[in-house]
């Protein structure tokens, strides 16, 4: 495949779009926040499966009548499966089972599929750890890219990663999807994936800067993006293929996880094209930045 797309022609539009999306995400995260899953929020969730569909309203009524005002009752995957969440203020690990027994006693006889209780302390610790882990990951990757490439690339890479992570978080916030530990895991995987893309593009830009010395930076970046576009599209496609398989067939428990990854691949592919290149353009990457080849790069110098 030979692409000749003038990516950089649209870099302003892409830049504006990115900034817009980023800002909306930040706004939503600030004002709406995330719907935290059980892992982070603490509390109780009970997953019950029934032989025939049940009226959620009657379940709600039974719960409200028995002092569980703060409970949510929703279908989970199918109309036979019901997920009940109880906000648990005083950290009692047996509320969920009481709820299950209560419903059984009231004639809603079902099978307990899964049951989870997370104490408030564990939840808050995990929130801190998760946030910290994310920052540590970003920082270590920044260091690695700075060490392997050059700080302008590192800034580009980390901006791209921050961009991807914030926009995915923003989407989870806007659509009020459950943010649990598996989604956090997906987000970290997205960091890895998106970086993968970014590095491939950066690598090519670096190579072209060294070999095609007479070109303008803008054309050079365009050339690099076009050269890697085939690979970027194929990899994104194969990854999306398996992720859709996971999203459709993997079941409710990892829906959020696959969703976050699908979004991550889409946003990550976009950001490796536009965000990184845009950053490099804004930081005015010049020949001199790469003039002294690193030892690792030496063997790749073009044969005459």
């Amino acid at each position: 495949m030979n692409f000749k797309i003038q990516f950089m022609k649209y870099r302003k539009i892409a830049g504006i779009a990115s900034i817009l999306l980023f800002s909306i995400s930040i706004l939503s995260l600030t004002f709406r926040g995330l719907v935290l899953g059980l892992d982070f929020s603490g509390g109780t969730s009970v997953h019950i499966t029934y032989e025939s569909p049940v009226e959620l309203e009657s379940l709600r009524n039974i719960l409200t009548d028995n002092g569980y005002e703060d409970s949510q009752v929703v279908n989970f995957g199918s109309n036979l499966d019901v997920l009940i969440k109880v906000d648990d203020v005083d950290g009692d690990s047996s509320i969920g089972l009481s709820v299950f027994n209560l419903l059984n006693e009231n004639g809603f006889i079902g099978q307990l599929k899964s049951y989870g209780y997370v104490g408030p302390q564990v939840g808050s610790e995990l929130r801190d750890q998760g946030g910290l882990g994310m920052l540590v990951a970003l920082f270590m990757i920044l260091m690695y890219v700075a060490f392997r490439f050059q700080y302008k690339f590192a800034l580009g890479a980390v901006t791209a990663l921050g961009h991807d992570v914030v926009i995915i978080l923003g989407l989870f916030s806007i659509f009020a999807w459950d943010f649990d530990l598996t989604v956090l895991a997906a987000l970290l995987a997205v960091i890895g994936y998106s970086l993968n893309d970014t590095i491939v593009v950066s690598d090519r830009i670096r190579e072209n800067f060294r070999t095609q010395r007479e070109m303008e930076p803008m054309n050079m970046i365009d050339l690099s993006l076009n050269q890697t576009l085939g690979r970027t599209l194929v990899t994104s496609l194969t990854t999306l293929l398996v992720l859709f398989a996971l999203f459709i067939f993997g079941g409710e428990m990892i829906k959020g996880f696959s969703l976050a990854l699908i979004l991550g691949v889409l946003v990550g592919t976009y950001s490796s094209i536009y965000v990184v290149a845009n950053m490099l353009m804004s930081l005015t990457l010049i020949q001199e930045d790469l003039a002294v080849p690193e030892p690792e790069g030496a063997e790749f110098d073009e044969l005459p």
């Binding site: 970290l188 398996v242 398989a245």
Partner: protein, 618 residues
């Protein structure tokens, strides 16, 4: 050109054989089996028990497929589920509560594989079904308990050494002594400094307030760490014993972080019963033996633990319960006989003092209280035979000894027999005690049907994802695509092999990690192939292949290292299922680099290596 040396081929072959061999145990089906262990956690199963079980099964004409000793359990494998259930019933009926019998599915890994460490991949709770608890050990209470003991002992010491104090108390986890004179204050200060050095460093932090003649003493970080480690370690032992009583085949009880304990019980469906046994307290009772003056209404008969035909009658009132025991150890008395040293906390010590002061010469009994579960086969409303578990309480006397003096927080039991018997008694005494109370911080139950569903769904996703990628690669890159596909399959086998070899646990997010690897693993090959296509524009095919591979390598390496960084961080911060994702992702990254670069190259070399090719279709 484009040939691998024989060593390179051998290396690839070696890795492949290794991977395939260790992945192999996963292909063997599981077999119904039972695990038999002595109810008494101090006793290990032995050849005698094995023979006894064998005889009972023979008498009932049940032919086990295999019967052997493993760790401290006896494992019996059967050909059918019926045999498994029947034998559980006959064995339990015959041996009653002498043994705990757990139903299990044993892997049928052949012996030669087992000998080289081959085993199937372990399944996480989200795939096997079961109960998970996370318990927090309350260290502050343990610390408070220690301080109370310390307070008591310093009051005694100061009295003996004529160090006069006005007030003594514990305030905000600090020991506070207010002394009468500056002289006493100084003496106490030097006493503290004398006591403070421990094996691992200073134990006390002393704050001086000479203006009011007051000394504050608190535990140093070193001492606190020791208290915490002791409390958590002790609770771990106690929990292991309790979990043992549940008769679960592969339970996990381990420390997590500084002060938490994880308990995982695969296959357990009723968290309530499990919680009752894990969360129970006080399974020791100190009681006075009834004498002629005890009213019949206020006494009870109990059997001895070693000999159930011997009984003793005890008072109903409990002097001290097991949660007051802070330590029990063995030692030797003046004449060299074994003894058991017992330490109670302050409250226990006070109660013991009160009960023993008027009763020197009478006997004091230690009752071992066990909450036991028994399982029976019952027919449920659908006419199916199911195993029903119920719990009951059993109390046995483990020691009955004459009170020689008024007892306080620390005392000893002498005349306990051999050192071996003494240490068993100490173990029982400790087993009853939790060094610090615990709280359920997290609880999860996954029903067995959900576990199986998760496995099925995960497998389906892998299969469909794999099929889609394989079809795409074949059409897009043809011969090279097929080489990449073979590498992809090898990659899956290697991931399985390494997971099995490491004994890593597979979870649902772990399966998702494998699915993701399938999608991303071809990336390395895509990079290489794209590069070869480019190189072909101005190079001959052989050079293009060579340069394509070598130029793509650094890119692939950089890209993978960064993903690996993310995966490792995930492993550190993640818990349970998410750790499983980090594991499969990390392993997948490493194996995919090997297969995409080495295996694909080997195949390409074998196909095109020695030929003079004019045109390369890629």
């Amino acid at each position: 050109m484009n040939k691998f040396s024989i060593t390179q081929y051998l290396l690839i072959l070696f890795v492949l054989i290794l991977g395939f061999t260790y992945a192999l145990p996963n292909l063997y089906p599981t077999q119904p089996s039972i695990q038999v262990a002595y109810t008494d956690s101090g006793k290990s199963a032995d050849q005698i028990l094995l023979n006894e079980l064998q005889d009972i099964l023979d008498n009932n004409e049940i032919n086990p497929q295999e019967i052997f000793l493993r760790d401290n359990k006896i494992v019996i494998k059967f050909d059918s589920l019926d045999d498994q259930l029947d034998s559980k019933t006959v064995l339990q009926n015959k041996l009653l509560d002498k043994v705990i019998i757990a139903l299990n599915l044993e892997p049928s890994t052949p012996d030669w594989l087992k000998e080289i460490g081959g085993q199937p991949v372990k399944l996480g709770l989200d795939l096997s079904g079961g109960v998970h608890f996370l318990l927090e050990v309350d260290i502050e209470t343990a610390q408070q308990g220690r301080l109370e003991l310390l307070l008591d002992s310093y009051r005694k010491t100061f009295k003996e050494e004529r160090i006069e104090f006005l007030n003594s108390s514990i305030d905000d986890l600090k020991l506070v002594f207010e002394f009468k004179t500056r002289d006493s204050y100084n003496k106490a200060l030097s006493r503290y400094s004398l006591d403070s050095p421990g094996l691992s460093g200073l134990q006390y932090i002393i704050t001086e307030r000479p203006a009011t003649n007051t000394l504050f003493l608190e535990y140093s970080d070193v001492a606190l760490r020791e208290i915490r480690d002791y409390a958590v370690g002790q609770n771990l032992i106690t929990l292991r014993n309790r979990v043992n009583e549940l008769g679960v085949s592969e339970p996990i009880v381990q420390r997590e972080g500084a002060s938490r304990i994880v308990v995982q019980l695969p296959g357990v469906q009723d968290p309530t019963a499990a919680k009752k046994i894990i969360g129970k307290t006080a399974n020791l009772e100190f009681r006075l033996e009834a004498n002629s003056r005890t009213s019949p209404l206020r006494k009870e008969e109990f059997p001895f633990k070693e000999n159930e035909f011997m009984t003793a009658s005890l008072e109903k009132a409990v002097v001290v319960s097991g949660d007051r025991v802070t330590n029990a150890s063995t030692g030797f008395d003046e004449s060299g006989f074994a003894q058991v040293n017992i330490t109670l906390d302050m409250q226990g010590g006070r109660a013991m003092q009160k009960a023993t002061s008027g009763n020197i010469g009478r006997k004091l009994a230690v009752l071992f209280v066990e909450q036991k579960s028994k399982s029976e086969l019952v027919i449920d409303e659908n006419g199916e035979t199911v195993i029903e578990q119920s719990t009951y309480i059993e109390k046995n006397i483990i020691s009955l000894a004459t009170i020689q003096a008024v007892l306080g927080t620390s005392f000893r039991i002498t005349g306990v027999g051999t050192p071996q018997e003494a240490s068993e008694l100490a173990l029982l005494l400790r087993a009853g005690a939790l060094a610090a109370p615990m709280k359920f911080e997290e609880e999860r139950t996954i029903g067995p049907s959900l576990g199986q569903e998760n496995i099925d769904k995960g497998m389906k996703s892998i299969m469909i994802g794999l099929a889609l990628v394989v079809i795409f690669m074949t059409f897009y890159y043809r011969v090279f695509g097929i080489a990449a596909n073979i590498s992809l399959l090898i990659n899956l086998v290697l991931i399985t092999g390494i997971m099995s070899l490491l004994g890593a646990t597979l979870t649902l997010p772990g399966i998702a990690g494998i699915v993701l690897t399938v999608g991303m693993a071809v990336d390395a090959n895509v990079l290489i192939f794209a590069r070869i296509r480019e190189e072909l524009k101005d190079k001959d095919p052989q050079t293009a292949i060579r340069d394509g591979f070598s130029r793509a390598f650094i890119t692939i390496f950089d890209a993978n290292v960064t993903t690996l960084i993310a995966a490792l961080i995930l492993y550190v911060i993640g818990t349970g299922p998410v750790k499983g994702f980090a594991i499969t992702l990390s392993i997948g990254i490493v194996t995919s680099m090997f297969t995409a670069i080495m295996c694909t190259r080997a195949m390409v070399n074998l196909i095109y290596g020695n030929k003079n090719i004019k045109e390369l279709k890629i």
